[in-house]
Symmetry: C2
Subunit: 112 residues, 2 copies
Amino acid sequence: MSTLPLPPYWAVIFSSQRSNTDDAGYAEMAEKMLTLAEMQPGYLGIDSSRDATGLGITVSYWESLQTIAAWRQHSEHLLAQEMGRNTWYQHYAIKIARVERSYSFSEQDALP
Amino acid sequence: MSTLPLPPYWAVIFSSQRSNTDDAGYAEMAEKMLTLAEMQPGYLGIDSSRDATGLGITVSYWESLQTIAAWRQHSEHLLAQEMGRNTWYQHYAIKIARVERSYSFSEQDALP
């Protein structure tokens, strides 16, 4: 999981249902977008999971609303978004949220 | 995916890595906690995904910080949390965030 600074920072919560279409093209684009996102100003980290039914949640973390807006308008990302709507997703929902608190647990911490 | 009111509301982003231990006990408790969460004051919805490697993201949505705090302190939930740390999770991270904006796409909307 991503190592992140102390709050506050911002989260983009992307919940999506994959179509049954074009697994290879989707995987290639997902990898490309991940690499590209990591290069953007203000990018802090990402966590992603997709289950066997194709329901996925990806949360990316950002320094500010401005850096989220810039990534949303990135030309290659815009193309990926359009292909997502046309081909890869049955539906998705995006929420933009300001992270106020965080805490974590690791079993290493719990060793006697 | 959950149908939610217009923002603002709150999100609890729970990212976790399952241990390889006690799948049946974990599944039973997860189902029980889901049912119990839905009964709590201020609960708005939940989205959850876990991939084949055991990496999961669950985002639950709440009306207020107060209702999140009450659920966190619920006696049965406290027991589940303790069992999670002792048995079911290698590690987890929790972020509490205020949802400011939301939007969504459905392929039905895109039909000509």
